[in-house]
Assembly symmetry: C2
Homo-oligomer: 472 residues x 2
């Protein structure tokens, strides 16, 4: 049971309102600062227990301009979507508060209660574990999550159903289960108790107490401003740099062989991508001029642009910086595209952000696990993730840089930044080595394509895609 449930007592409403508003403004002013946070409030519970009224009352006590309320009908989990995907758009920016009526837990309950295809216990518990891990990742990234369950005993619920207006009855039916069914009610209670131990459970019988308890809990949460740590104590264990990264092969392919092989493989790859019923995400990382753009061009060669989407990742924008680092990737994956290609990715966190110091020590060191969880969630939901690191030697990079500078319409590809990055070549190699060592998982393995020859590298990329899609 949460501490707040014990300490609760009624307070003067005007004073409570004043405290809430002041806490809101304090939160708002943390934006862009080291104690910045935003607050997500998950609200679930028994129908008619008064969660709607409590939120409505809260809205009246606070400054409504800085409280966003999102409410929708619980949805069944679908095979191709992670539990967090429908909600990422609503993850608030630093300084903001977001109430989520529909949330991943209500979806979980709805899915588990769905008669024709219920979740088994192991699945249910594994979902809870993933959800808690996701919430922890949010918290680490300045988004605090608090959870409130509005409860109502069976008899009180039946009484409220009896007293209800006809139009309300119709509406409540749309949004929930059959609340006249005792067996369903009991199942629901049993299920929700598997996850509500870190929730505030509010008894919905007394209206005044209920609304105050809810508001006071939020006030309490608003006041907890974190002081984000920046360093870690444990010594970092740098992975050894695989030879492939600094000494790629130079197996050359001649133009004729390349052309023939390319023709065959681009066709095969497009067929494979097209017919695979899963979502496919193909990602590219590598030193500047390693050939990411050229490889992508060959993957999509035989596809129509309506069949895929390419995201070219640059530095984050201000509104993105005010949200968890992964947020801009979460939100890019809510579209319906079945084939998605990333030219640079979320691995920027442990590459450029680490090397350039944009991410603090604790942030990039934590990111490996965050990324692994993110990729696990995706691959658990009918998604194939194919990750490429394109490696070239330092000399080959110089040759390519100079070649780019010599060609007017390629000059835009090479900037002072690229030459500057090159000076930190060894730091990038170290970062890449750590990344490969820590994120090369069974469900999302890395393909290191280490070849100074462009032709050969492109062919290897296409072959790796076929391999990962299990097409021979």
């Amino acid at each position: 049971m949460l501490e707040q449930q014990l300490q609760f007592s009624l307070r003067d409403e005007d004073q409570l309102s004043l405290d809430l508003i002041e806490a809101q403004y304090t939160l708002k002013n943390t934006r862009d600062r080291n104690n910045a946070k935003s607050l997500v409030i998950l609200v679930s519970g028994i129908e008619l227990a008064g969660k709607g009224e409590a939120v409505k009352q809260l809205r009246e006590w606070v400054d409504p301009r800085y409280l966003h309320v999102k409410a929708d009908i619980p949805r069944l989990f679908t095979e191709k979507q992670t539990f967090w995907q429908p909600y990422t758009r609503f993850i608030p920016a630093e300084g903001q508060i977001q109430v989520m009526f529909g949330n991943w837990y209500s979806d979980l309950l709805t899915t588990a209660m769905h008669v024709s295809k219920p979740l088994d216990e192991t699945m249910f518990e594994s979902y809870i574990e993933c959800m808690r891990a996701y919430e922890q990742d949010l918290k680490n990234n300045h988004v605090d999550v608090i959870k409130v369950w509005f409860d109502l005993p069976w008899k009180a619920l039946q009484k409220r159903l009896d007293d209800m207006d006809v139009s309300e009855q119709r509406w409540h039916k749309l949004h929930g289960l059959d609340w006249r069914n005792k067996k369903q009610y009991d199942t629901l209670q049993k299920l929700r108790q598997k996850f509500t131990d870190d929730w505030l459970v509010i008894d919905g019988e007394n209206e005044v107490l209920r609304n105050q308890q809810f508001a006071q809990y939020i006030l309490h949460a608003l006041k907890q401003l974190p002081k984000h740590k920046t360093t870690v104590r444990t010594k970092w264990k740098q992975a050894a740099i695989p030879e492939a990264l600094f000494n790629p092969s130079i197996e050359m392919m001649d133009a004729a062989a390349y052309k023939a092989e390319l023709k065959k493989l681009t066709r095969k790859v497009s067929d494979a991508l097209r017919t695979d019923s899963r979502n496919v995400i193909i990602t590219f990382e590598g030193m500047d001029a390693a050939g990411k753009g050229g490889a992508i061009k060959r993957i999509v060669k035989k596809l129509d642009p309506r069949e895929y989407e390419i995201h070219t990742i640059a530095a984050p924008e201000k509104f993105e910086l005010r949200r968890p680092y992964m947020w801009r990737f979460w939100t890019k994956l809510t579209e319906t595209h079945e084939i998605t290609i990333f030219d640079r990715t979320w691995y920027g966190r442990v590459l450029v952000e680490r090397v350039e110091g944009f991410a603090k020590q604790i942030e990039w060191q934590r990111a490996y696990e965050e990324i692994n969880r993110f990729e696990k969630d995706l691959t658990d939901n009918q998604t194939i993730l194919i990750k490429f690191w394109l490696a070239i030697s330092k000399d080959e990079q110089e040759t390519r840089f100079k070649a780019r500078e010599a060609v007017p319409h390629k000059r835009f590809k090479i900037t002072a930044d690229d030459w500057r990055n090159r000076k930190r070549w060894d730091d990038y190699l170290n970062a890449a080595a750590d990344m490969l060592a820590r994120t090369n998982t069974e469900y999302a393995p890395w393909y290191v394509i280490a070849n100074n020859d462009k032709y050969s590298a492109r062919i290897q990329v296409l072959q790796a895609i076929l391999k990962q899609l299990k097409v021979d």
Copy 2:
């Protein structure tokens, strides 16, 4: 026929690529400046005419980080959505380029070709008119729209269908009509000719010419940087200020009568809102402290927060300022909520933005028509729009301001801004008078609730909602 179709000749590819990249960078640098613009490229056409290839080629010639491509399957128009609603999220910010494969014209064609419920000719033409008006509004607000149709004669199309791979055939079928059906082809050609007179029509038979013609047209469009006008020549005709605005009645309602009436009406309003099958949007404008918050509270009294959404509108954020003024409202209306309430609205353009000089003369003077078109589109698509202006006298405002300042938890509602706005009382009255005169349409009438008594005003608001919903 467009001028570009006549002037076309093949160019050196590298030079074309260089010019495109330079034009992209120039466009990018216009951001936040007086010649700012973004570019939307609508792409449609006959299947297999090569629009996909042309876009792919374009992507290779430009800097792909600054070219976004959105592609989806054409959708049928739905009763409750305007033609622009599925696309507003993709309207680019100043300096950006967005290709839209799926767009309002492809939806129109798909809807018109849909056999079970085809659009009649009048409807079809009326859609085209609305689309052109919408595009003109975009252009006036820094978003240039160019349109390209990829064409292919019947025989060439059949030949390409014959030569196609099996996996491609399957895919193309998903995304289009039956391209073996000559009658359908002819109908489509007849229909598209009703709107393609201001499109670039590209013959898809020759691949090289096709790709270059497309890219050159975009280069041409990128180079047209507007110099946005700020003033207008014609003298502005200020509307007379209706007496209700400055001299509202003070018909008082006693507390007991108010309570009884309120109870009856809140129930009636929630029933009416709930059972109406249309979307309902209720908007509030009025001087500070006119009672907008209090009125909204009573509307939602008997509703559950899952049934409605309230948007409290504050000053726009940076990323919103880089898009058309209406954009932040367009995007708020794509959610599925059937009851939406706005505490302040798009009328800010002709109220605060006009009075404070945030909008230039030409911008706010143009806004009345833009707003009328926007509201017409909504109400043509099963939406009821109920607009309130709450009027109080200048003295009453002062009384309320002072009362707010005296109560700690209401003090946040009153700021230096409010006192400053009060000094421009007459300017706001003039702006409100013009707004009422120019946007009081048959499809979206204004309700001016002019009463210094809060109780009476709230009751009038509820009655007006019932009246507009045709409930007695």
